[in-house]
């Protein structure tokens, strides 16, 4: 309710600002112009959305696989952690615009380089939150498991892994927002379709409203993905929503 009012208020203010001629509408179209573009270009937007959406979906899946794999490997093997953790962080400092052309050269203009770039920007939050949660399991629980003859693998399987699952999903929720940005950058680097490609084309054609309409679709997609993951978290991990009563 409050969220809806807040959005309406923001849109109203934006509309007033645009109507008053604050900025040229080639730079900032008004909400009504964007809404018109959303309706007029719906076919175009939808086709390109499907492309970007599948890139993002595949990218997030790849990020989850790689991120969880990294977290588990680094958790179970400390020397590897010490050796590669700085690299992991450094990988996030590389601007996408630098690696994107390289990936296009290696992987071509199809889906693969986009998925790779999205996975690259998304695996970090997943890996770090999961690795953190794996290491934060109550040491008393691990001691108890030792008295029950649990080996390293059992302790991981019965205590650490389930304890880290909620964190892994939280990491995925963070990743969703950057995944969409990652997709746009990836398409900028070389593509013939997708919402990022559409934006790239719309701006020199002075179709600013269309570019903004694409942004609206991207934002709505990110919000929808976020809540889908949230719903998944509630259903798959029901213990995380029950308050612990002493």
């Amino acid at each position: 309710m409050i969220a809806a009012l807040l959005v309406l208020a923001l849109l109203g203010a934006w509309q007033l600002y645009a109507d008053a001629g604050g900025v040229d509408d080639l730079i900032l179209p008004s909400p009504t112009q964007i809404a018109t573009a959303l309706v007029d270009d719906r076919g175009l937007l939808w086709d390109n959305f499907l492309v970007t959406a599948s890139e993002v979906a595949l990218g997030i899946v790849a990020a989850l696989l790689v991120g969880l794999g990294c977290a588990v490997a680094l958790h179970l093997w400390r020397p590897l952690r010490r050796a590669t953790y700085p690299l992991l962080i450094a990988s996030q400092a590389i601007p996408i615009v630098i690696v994107a052309p390289l990936l296009v050269v290696w992987l071509g203009f199809g889906m693969a380089p986009k998925v790779a770039i999205i996975a690259l920007v998304c695996f970090f939050p997943v890996a770090v939150t999961t690795l953190d949660a794996l290491g934060r399991v109550d040491p008393d629980t691990l001691r108890l498991l030792r008295t029950l003859d649990a080996g390293r693998w059992s302790a991981f399987r019965f205590a650490e892994a389930p304890a880290a699952l909620p964190a892994a999903l939280s990491g995925a929720k963070i990743a969703v927002a950057v995944a969409v940005i990652g997709a746009v950058f990836a398409e900028y680097a070389g593509s013939s379709e997708g919402l990022g490609h559409l934006i790239l084309q719309a701006i020199p054609q002075l179709e600013t409203a269309r570019a903004w309409a694409a942004v609206v679709v991207l934002a709505a997609f990110a919000v929808a993905l976020f809540y889908a993951l949230d719903l998944m978290q509630r259903h798959l991990l029901p213990w995380t929503r029950t308050e612990r009563t002493p």
């Binding site: 008393d140 108890l144 003859d149 059992s154 213990w239 308050e243």
Partner: protein
């Protein structure tokens, strides 16, 4: 719950071979702090021994030595395989009661189905009937301790080390749980080493009460409790033993914390 009906042969809590525990002249230090010093204590197979003492007298260290979570700096520890019931229940928050109790069986390779089938028949006996599907957060403190005790029992080890199992409960729940534990041990006799700061609890439950001195912990008194079971806190013999234990604690200079 399909697993309950799918257990024609209810596996009883494995009856482990009888074993006791013996500590001889044991010393354990943590840096500059000596937790226990020259401590000797023997628990006969099947005996229930309660250890009381002031806070920080090394009671928990004692249990960790018996469970082999710690090694002594000096002296010898000989004990049968021991299972620890920690003060905090440490149940797995994502698992139901029916999955938490048989955790030791899963750790020994049982499938989820086998583990549930082994634990299910015990839920009724141990006053947990109807709570099989509840997660720890949905259980009261007393119920959680029951699940934790069941888990300790299902470890199938002859020696049970109970570390202040009811310390976190309110007085009413605690006396309920003491009666419950007395009943549980009558059904499933085990060698028990019970650490507590509650002298009454010690006397109600144990065959023998061992009083430790303040740190470094040493045995200062041993009181045999011959009162018939089931005992109540108001039984004359229980009251007498309690007074004796409190007097011994008083001589140590440390108040029963």
């Amino acid at each position: 719950m399909e697993t309950q009906t799918a257990s024609p042969v209810a596996t009883p809590p494995t009856d482990p071979p009888a074993a006791g525990a013996r500590l001889e002249d044991v010393t354990r230090r943590y840096g500059a702090v000596t937790a226990v010093e020259h401590l000797s204590l023997a628990v006969a197979p099947g005996e229930v021994v309660a250890v009381v003492g002031p806070s920080g007298c090394g009671k928990s260290t004692l249990l960790q030595l018996v469970c082999r979570l710690e090694a002594p700096d000096a002296g010898r520890v000989e004990a049968g395989p021991a299972a620890l019931m920690p003060q905090r229940d440490l149940l797995l928050p994502w698992a139901t009661a029916l999955d938490n109790a048989p955790l030791p069986l899963r750790l020994h390779g049982a499938s989820r189905r086998e583990a549930r089938a082994a634990a299910a028949p015990l839920f009724e006996t141990f006053g947990l009937g109807g709570f099989e599907r509840a997660r720890p957060a949905q259980l009261s403190g007393g119920m959680r301790q029951r699940v934790a005790f069941l888990r300790t029992l299902l470890a199938g080890k002859p020696v049970l080390c109970l570390d202040e199992p009811f310390a976190a409960l309110d007085a009413l729940a605690r006396s309920d749980m003491q009666a419950w534990l007395a009943g549980a041990l009558a059904r499933e006799p085990r060698t028990v080493l019970l650490v507590t700061h509650d002298v009454e609890e010690a006397v109600v439950l144990a065959d023998r009460v061992v009083v430790l001195s303040p740190r470094p912990g040493r045995v200062v008194a041993e009181i045999r409790v011959d009162a018939p079971r089931p005992r109540r806190a108001t039984d004359a013999a229980v009251v007498a033993c309690r007074a004796e234990a409190l007097a011994a604690l008083g001589r140590t200079g440390g108040a029963p914390a």
